[in-house]
Symmetry: C2
Subunit: 486 residues, 2 copies
């Protein structure tokens, strides 16, 4: 356990802060010898597991069941949905040789699983009693992203959940899309403390093959947006391509109405560490921390053994109460240990020293605020639980307050460019979010490096009567949000 | 939910029974259009998740931490350990094209992760304070098995856990191998009820690159053996190939001592369903069942709504007590429902009818024995918990009793062939389990279709003084177990 200090400024130089925290907290190792592939180390994977469990629990509560589909998809499956193959073909990893033999047909490593799953759905769905079909899989997918890769944010292999549902009516599919957005809210915002806005993507930025795409955009500390879970209304596009159909109540064969939803765990983790972290390193919500409480013996000459024994006893007793606890009895100084565990974002520290043993009161320190208090031994479990909730709440509320300040308005290209320099989202009037508006979005991108993220879902952002598109000057039909993007 | 009956004889025709139960209980779909790849359906994946959790819990209790390594391994990594590359090269899936470009170096889809992980271990391990390093990953691996594939038993993509450890001494590595075997015992035998024997594999049947391999062999109902979790003492072979080394207490650079352990969840599931199943379908241990209790309303004219409401209330109350519960309110007959849930191995059924509502006592039926009893509503949670434990215990004890009868002895090739026809393991004297004995093992295989599985770990099976090898007639050094193999 080597610790060589952490002191990077998240506000002033987020990019360096991020790289250093990823490296020094041992979250991820970039030295694996395949470009764009990284190794996820235990400290992050322990949080991944909790994040997976949180999403899976919500998905199961809304009627989804887990399945596991093959990682390899035959080329012929891709060719079935035209937009989809055009969208994903440039990014595919192809298996062409197996056991010394050249394959007749190439196999793609799944970039997402529509084309693997819906062929089976076609076999499983016959009548109304087979619907709705709601299945998710927790897995990894592979896409040869050409942009620069960054750990957790963008890489060629990522870990996610994908939920694929089929319904008998368009209305049910539309309702599922809203449920998916609520799932994101309940898990990513309420549990992980990461704020976001759901945008209906413009026509030109939809998922390949979708009728409508809703993407959750969060913000990083440098003011750039990062795309989080999307949910897609697929309508009958894929159902027609893969013959996912059922006998409806009139006895007619009808194509299914589909949705899909994909929370990328590794990406959400990027937001968790970036939004909550501070200049000492990670700050983790209580329920995501691999270690929730670290117990640290503060030595006094002549009492070494007694103090260590007491620290271990306190740790064991807390473990028995369901906390995830580490007792750091290494030979380092308490100061070194404080820094070490603070860098790793452990929410609570309990100090056990000579004074504490005498008084029966332990010093408890919060990672998020640095506040310390004395807690009687008997009251420790209840108080730590209370502090755990308080820490998660505080992180979420702080993030919300910061996020609320990142919304700006502009009505001209110049204003937009200036506002984007400050970071965050900028609301501007745009002529259209149909294909007509694509050229204007491209102009905005070229002149301001801002991306049109779409219209806010459930928002009331309608342009005023006289508003004109910032790009073309024609009357504006929509208010869209623009942001620079990861 | 279509149900077309299940009535196959596991004892008389295990092969058909297995195929039918896999299909009719909707565990796995073989119609995916890549040879050797199957789709794991929700009913089996829900059990997979519990099996993964059980193994992960044990591994974490013995000091392992989870990580996630890339699915792709560069060819150069494979070339580092000679035996390993020879062992796995024939089975590899190779990625050669990415995003429209031919790769300079081929990338293999991992068949196991030694060559991906140990290159990183070399970077992570410097001194004694970095040891022991104990890491596991839950993932899927790909091997182009040339033998006939069978769902869960052998396929080209399987789901497993692999634990890879590094120690400062050979003694610690040897101790880890014993711990791994205990993990298999505690999880696969005590929790899942699947009996097995750990064999030290003969010299010619070790894991490629290992010093010693210990494999758990279980038995299928047809008397053939199926290999379950192996643990390998790797010594310093891989450490030398990948430069996994540390500064020892004398200040000298020393190679690490390694072990690896790999429980294949999908394969263990094959044993679980085969060993416990009966002619009505699956029988699942209580802690592995996706649904532990099914509540079935038994309708009476005029009371339909009241009975359904009561059934739902009972189900909800049991759910609140932590049981995984389904309430089957479909329009099918109770008899149809009984068969449907029995085929799926649900351990307990609670019947709610007019009589039950009046008396306040519910009929509870056990899947394993078919026994029924009446239980007062208030006592339901405690009694169901007790029955759950009783079912798991009964399944394990029944399996143990059956397994104990599958051990035979032989002292000649004729006796061996006859004994193998009966199924199970046959103990025979063999000249040697070193490379010298390989020709005799091949002769045994050619004449009896039996495989030499090795010597029993911890056993006292020493040949009598005058014993001679069944194959060559020379004095026998060892007693080995022979079995026909999946």
């Amino acid at each position: 356990m080597a610790f060589d200090g952490f002191d990077f400024d998240k506000e002033k130089d987020f990019s360096t802060w991020y790289s250093e925290v990823v490296k020094r907290a041992e979250l991820c190792d970039l030295r694996y010898n395949v470009k764009g592939f990284v190794v996820f180390r235990p400290w992050c994977v322990m949080s991944f597991k909790k994040m997976y469990a949180a999403f899976e629990k919500e998905l199961e509560a809304s009627g989804h069941r887990p399945a596991l589909f093959p990682a390899l998809v035959p080329e012929e499956n891709f060719l079935k949905e035209k937009e989809h193959v055009e969208g994903f073909a440039p990014d595919l990893f192809w298996v062409t040789e197996v056991a010394g033999n050249k394959l007749g047909e190439r196999l793609a490593m799944r970039p997402t699983s529509e084309t693997a799953m819906y062929k089976m759905y076609s076999l499983w769905i016959q009548g109304l009693s087979d619907l709705p079909l709601k299945i998710y899989q927790s897995c990894q997918v592979w896409r040869c992203e050409t942009k620069a890769t960054r750990p957790f944010i963008r890489s060629r292999e990522f870990h996610w959940i994908e939920a694929h549902d089929v319904f008998a009516t368009m209305e049910e599919a539309e309702a599922q899309v809203r449920t998916d957005m609520e799932t994101t809210e309940r898990v990513m915002h309420l549990q992980f403390g990461v704020p976001f806005i759901y945008f209906k993507r413009p026509e030109w930025d939809k998922f390949p093959g979708a009728v409508e795409t809703f993407g959750a955009d969060s913000l990083m500390p440098d003011g750039k947006t990062i795309q989080q879970p999307s949910t897609h209304l697929l309508g009958q596009n894929f159902a027609k391509a893969f013959d996912v159909s059922f006998l409806n109540s009139k006895g007619e064969r009808e194509f299914g109405w589909q949705t899909c939803y994909g929370p990328a765990i590794s990406r959400i983790y990027a937001s968790v560490i970036s939004v909550h972290g501070d200049n000492k390193g990670l700050v983790l919500p209580f329920d995501l921390a691999p270690v929730q409480v670290v117990v640290i013996p503060v030595q006094k000459k002549g009492l070494e053994e007694k103090i260590v024994a007491k620290a271990k006893a306190v740790a064991a007793s807390l473990r028995g109460r369901g906390f995830s606890v580490e007792c750091d009895c290494s030979t380092s100084t308490p100061g070194f240990k404080y820094n070490y565990w603070e860098l790793r974002g452990v929410p609570l520290r309990v100090e056990v020293g000579a004074r504490e043993m005498e008084s029966g009161e332990f010093v408890v320190a919060r990672r998020d605020t640095g506040e310390k208090e004395k807690v009687k031994e008997m009251e420790l479990p209840a108080r730590l639980n209370g502090l755990g909730v308080a820490i998660s709440d505080n992180l979420r509320l702080k993030a919300d307050a910061w996020f609320a300040k990142q919304l700006h308005c502009a009505s001209s290209m110049e204003e937009l460019a200036k506002a984007l320099d400050k970071g965050g989202f900028v609301k501007v009037p745009l002529c259209s979010v149909k294909m007509d508006g694509k050229a204007c979005a491209e102009k905005i991108k070229a002149e301001t490096v801002g991306d049109v993220r779409g219209t806010r879902f459930g928002g009331k952002d309608k342009p005023v009567h006289s508003a004109v598109c910032v790009a073309c000057g024609k009357p504006a039909d929509e208010v869209v949000f623009v942001a620079r993007q990861y």
